[in-house]
Symmetry: C2
Amino acid sequence: MYRSHTCGELRLSDANKQVTLAGWVQTVRKFGAITFVDLRDRYGITQLLFGEELNTALESQPLGREFVLQATGLVTERTSKNANLPTGDIELTVQSFQILNRSVLPPFTIQDDTDGGDDLRMKYRFLDLRRNAVKKNLELRYAVNRAARNYLHENNFMDIETPFLIKSTPEGARDFVVPSRMNPGQFYALPQSPQTFKQLLMVSGYDRYYQIVKCFRDEDLRADRQPEFTQIDCEMAFVEQEDILNMFEGLVKRIFKDVRNIDYTEKVARMSWEEAMWTFGNDKPDIRFGMQLANLKFPAHSFASRAAQLKETAIGAGETGFAVFDNAETVLAIAVPGCSEYTRKQTDELTEWVKRPQIGMQGLVYIKCNADGTYKSSVDKFFNEEKLKQIADKTGAKPGDLVLILAGKEERTRKATSELRLEMGKRLGLRREDEFKLLWVLDFPLFEYAEEDNRWVARHHPFTSPKPDQIDVMIGNNPEIGNADKYLEHPYSNIKANAYDMVLNGNEIGGGSIRIYQRELQEKMFAALGMTPEEALHKFGFLLGAFEYGAPPHGGIAFGFDRLCAILGGSESIRDFIAFPKNNSGRDMMLDAPSTIDDKQFDELQIRLNLK
Amino acid sequence: MYRSHTCGELRLSDANKQVTLAGWVQTVRKFGAITFVDLRDRYGITQLLFGEELNTALESQPLGREFVLQATGLVTERTSKNANLPTGDIELTVQSFQILNRSVLPPFTIQDDTDGGDDLRMKYRFLDLRRNAVKKNLELRYAVNRAARNYLHENNFMDIETPFLIKSTPEGARDFVVPSRMNPGQFYALPQSPQTFKQLLMVSGYDRYYQIVKCFRDEDLRADRQPEFTQIDCEMAFVEQEDILNMFEGLVKRIFKDVRNIDYTEKVARMSWEEAMWTFGNDKPDIRFGMQLANLKFPAHSFASRAAQLKETAIGAGETGFAVFDNAETVLAIAVPGCSEYTRKQTDELTEWVKRPQIGMQGLVYIKCNADGTYKSSVDKFFNEEKLKQIADKTGAKPGDLVLILAGKEERTRKATSELRLEMGKRLGLRREDEFKLLWVLDFPLFEYAEEDNRWVARHHPFTSPKPDQIDVMIGNNPEIGNADKYLEHPYSNIKANAYDMVLNGNEIGGGSIRIYQRELQEKMFAALGMTPEEALHKFGFLLGAFEYGAPPHGGIAFGFDRLCAILGGSESIRDFIAFPKNNSGRDMMLDAPSTIDDKQFDELQIRLNLK
């Protein structure tokens, strides 16, 4: 061993011990004849003191930043202690040292606040990983990994490895494929998830399975997506939805406790998908703050269950005379607390914000609920004070609040209002990084309507079960959609899935479902998604077959491990929590991969390029 | 939850409780008006008793093998107990039941001793996995996983995930490659191991890394090789060989203890590569038994250090008059204990055994060391009793032993004698499945000579360091081999590697090395292996670059997880310890993968087939 202790270990109680440390030179400070060196390793920093007698040695082998140094000496009490360092009470009075390796000047500083840009840091990721900020992230990631494994182990789950070289069955996302040299003309696919394998394991009787496992999707990379990503993948047999919810909120609470020392003792909130869309405008609401949507006007078909409310809404009551509202499919509002005194400049800026292409609205209406109980709006021409009050009351606004109103097509307006709510929450500091609010979103629609093909697609995936009392609706009806305009009247549009998402601070961190385990129902599902029986057999024959040999009821969940770590670490970017991430073109900048391959490889694989 | 208890849980102390079980029907036995059902799940088997009152219900829904059944009833003391079952004191007197799913007749019996052949079991792997024999293997695998993680965690190792989509740098084995849609004409490779990444992590200061990780090699599959396999992959910084040996024999001992409750307290034996080759004829000796090789004759060049012994050997002393020995390069013998009374038939069978093509010898000479102190051999014509005794003494034979002697070309004869030793050990029951003997094999040659290209290849891999005192030999000499016949005289042929293999019962279960961490030495290594500086930079520029920024001394090891599990489970076949293995053509028989892909996929990837 090149060291007797680490650089984070020595304390005053070690004074006068002779020890050997090894690590990296963080800083070198010369004061006359003596030199101080901060020596860094994974565990911390210890100050080395090189006395006068080592001057000659230091001059002949000068130390530089990031040199690898081994030093032996005596632990000594410092004269001026550093309370910010755990080792700050002592220093090592060096007796002898050895440079284990030199370093050229790093292209950026190895500090929390580095001067390196993104590209440079990715190219020299091995140096970036030395920074404390990045190290903390990977340590947190390992802590989450450990906490998850311990909890699942204690609950009788077994880690069972599933294969990476599998069969290509492109459903939702694109597969990465791997040409097989031994089977020319044929390809493996890399798994988008171990979904079918974990279901087979349930059929095999391994009733509690888990894996922390890499998955692969060949999608165009939006910011903060990676072609390879990690899931905490779990499945249980002989369970109903309630069992899964309880087991896995336990998992996340355990992670909170072990990783961040947070006692999340309250029951995790639950909300139906419809409630989430109605109240927050999206299916992964950030419930750290209120500012809920007031549905002032909406098309009856989109929320049939709320149609009765239509009559009660301030705007829905009839023609307002304000064309923007009268012509809109939807009018939605939020009450932003304490912002009634926004200046013209501020409300103009908000108007510009909602008009950005990413939000895509035509404009913004506001009502200032003044502290004195009066109202002032951008549409005073059309609404008297009483009407303004009526609208403001619908949003729950109090004196001092600012009501913001958007109007337009249903889907876009709901999305825009949701975005505006999140933006205002952020600006007002209501989305605190150190506050964690979990939410189960339940009762998703089983199917979504795909306009381009006039058919159904699975909202979650084709293995998700409908609610037990809707199985007959699914089996008993022809999935074909006769009249595209009236797809909402098809019985399938009202089938709810036995599916659930776990949402943390407005991010979906996990999702799953109770699965189909009956061959007949699974075949109906494939048919509903437009697969011929032959296709279904070719792609999923093994699963349909397995369902004939005693498949138990089962269900599961998968957590996005990268995302979960990022949120727990208070970051928006998953890339900061991956040791060797890829950029938005799917490139590893450090390796310079992907790259060309040899003619010999093409030849052996019996493929060639066919570049456009 | 579909059950209140598992099928392995109920005891006499639960008598009179009302419980619900769910599981698979193992057997149905009708005795007049009552029916016994053995219900099976992951945890065990419980006997269900269906009384007369359930007859009608059972007749309208008859139970079959592998049906999924839920049954509620009272725990009752059995009249005739079954001492072989943990639940054998009780049975469940069924009050109500529900068939959760039916099963068609399985293609083979779900029993330890199944009637299913290999192909059938692989096609219906989801049924094969139900068999207790296979379940035990996967449970053992998980126990090894858990023990390894716990030990490494307690020793400050961090699990850090490395990427799967990397750069193709075909050195030893072939890479599996993955066409990149976003970077047309370019390919990722799947990692053969995370070797360079774990070294980069050492450069980054994560001084103790581990991962239980899938690796990929596109090799022609010999029996018991898989294109994807799992490693316990570890690396440490600031260590010397001794540190690694201590840390990782600790790991294996911990696995022994946690998984098999074996206290392996003795120090793991160590042996140099040369000693292993000399004494056992191979580099992974099974030291559960002796029967060591007696080197009666051998070419001086192959074991220079043993040349002095040449003169002492019985055969080496000069011409024997027996042409087979006199013309042979090598003569090796073993003393098989207690077999002096083998019949002619038995010795003939052994002769046939060594003449099989896999062994490839011309014949076998034997000396029977009779219990009365006399000797009898197949070469009495050429050797008198004194000479026979001399030879037998060299092997350490005692009265009652049978000496077996092979002669021929060095390499083949050594290998054959090693195989013969293992075979005799097996026949004599000296290789006990429940005895575990670990061995470190050390001091491997750094290079092997590749005759076809007249150049050096890395015996381990190109990142392995030479012994510290031989670094100068490596740097200071031109790797080119002038005279192919005299390659053994090249200074490189005597360089020993800082490498180590861990051997368990004659199987290599792990191997590793202290790595090169100096750019100059790494460049010299690449040059020695015939790489041009340009090639070295193209393939490994990121690593050479990293070595310039303060790389610490480091080393590591990787264990073959599948193999380790198989040996601990007392099996020769790794396939039995993998949930979803591939066959010898690299096919997944259950999925029917690899398979063809769509035209759309070819089109998007901009590749096409080029079948011969």
